[in-house]
Subunit: 190 residues, 2 copies
């Protein structure tokens, strides 16, 4: 999606350790017109797929999930993160490792809000190692919900998570796919 | 706002300890059409006030902030929560106590995204003791940003935070104001 790629080139910052900072327009300060354009592009890509639920994980996935829910006219659900493993049996859970922060979290979704009959589009701001996406996939499988696919704002292709999940059969549409990243610039996979 | 009050009566659940569960439509699963209606109502209430930034705190405030940013056509910023107090000097911070979870958090906003010239509408899903709102107010004051007002989805008036902040001069518009809450029902303040 050219609008997003151009914005990443213009306002993104590459930091040591493979961190791309896009917090001026995507995940601390957010440009809602760009958010709307991205949601509409996901709608175009998944038109006719019968998506009836958007699923993401707190916190920074919530913005694109809210806008996607709006343009798809369906509810969104965000998985909560917890450090504790002492969870009630009224929820689906999955353990995930955090790439950015280290350590592990438990993702939690109430059983009331995900189940058979749901055709789920998973959305998130970043896809790198795929940890969050594997966690959300596991939750959908436990719930008996069908995953239509994933819609990602920025995929760091060189970290491998996206292509591993594609090889396992998941449809993943990433609006910007970064194939390499160095202090002196970014390259996008076309 | 009648649409929200009706939905709270229909789908909300009162739990022991003054907890109102609205997680089927507001803060775990979210109805994006209701979100849009609420954002439009905030736009109507703050029409002509020159709002040029929406401010909230992660996680559950992000959904209404995203939609408010969209209908106000201005960026949104969400404060991040951290348990650590060891923060860089490139950020504004405020300490807040958590009503729901206990303990305290540090709210963090990058200095790049809030400053003089910003006319801020603070939005959040809940207002109870006002802890989060006091924290965001402090961050705006440190930044030299002007607070136009606050837009809240649900205010639990009987917990006092909203009226204390109003007495100190903040304009607060709450889309549903709950004056009392018991196992057998809710009352709204008109």
């Amino acid at each position: 999606m050219k609008e997003l790629e151009d914005r990443i080139v213009q306002d993104g910052k590459v930091k040591p350790g493979g961190i791309l900072k896009v917090d001026s327009f995507l995940n601390h300060q957010i440009d809602p017109q760009l958010l709307y354009s991205m949601a509409m592009e996901l709608k175009r890509l998944y038109e006719g797929c019968g998506v009836n639920k958007i699923l993401t994980v707190e916190a920074s996935g919530i913005a694109i999930a809210a806008m996607a829910g709006y343009v798809f006219s369906c509810p969104l659900v965000f998985a909560k993160k917890s450090k504790t493993k002492n969870i009630s049996d009224a929820v689906w859970t999955a353990e995930v490792e955090s790439f950015t922060h280290g350590g592990s979290n438990t993702l939690i979704v109430s059983k009331e809000y995900l189940g058979p009959g749901d055709r789920v589009l998973i959305v998130d701001d970043f896809l790198a190692t795929g940890a969050a996406l594997y966690g959300l996939k596991s939750i959908c499988e436990q719930a008996g919900a069908e995953i239509v696919g994933a819609g990602i704002e920025i995929e760091k292709v060189f970290q491998g998570g996206g292509n591993r999940l594609r090889a396992e059969g998941m449809r993943i549409e990433s609006l910007a796919k970064i194939s390499s990243m160095a202090d002196n610039g970014l390259e996008f996979e076309k």
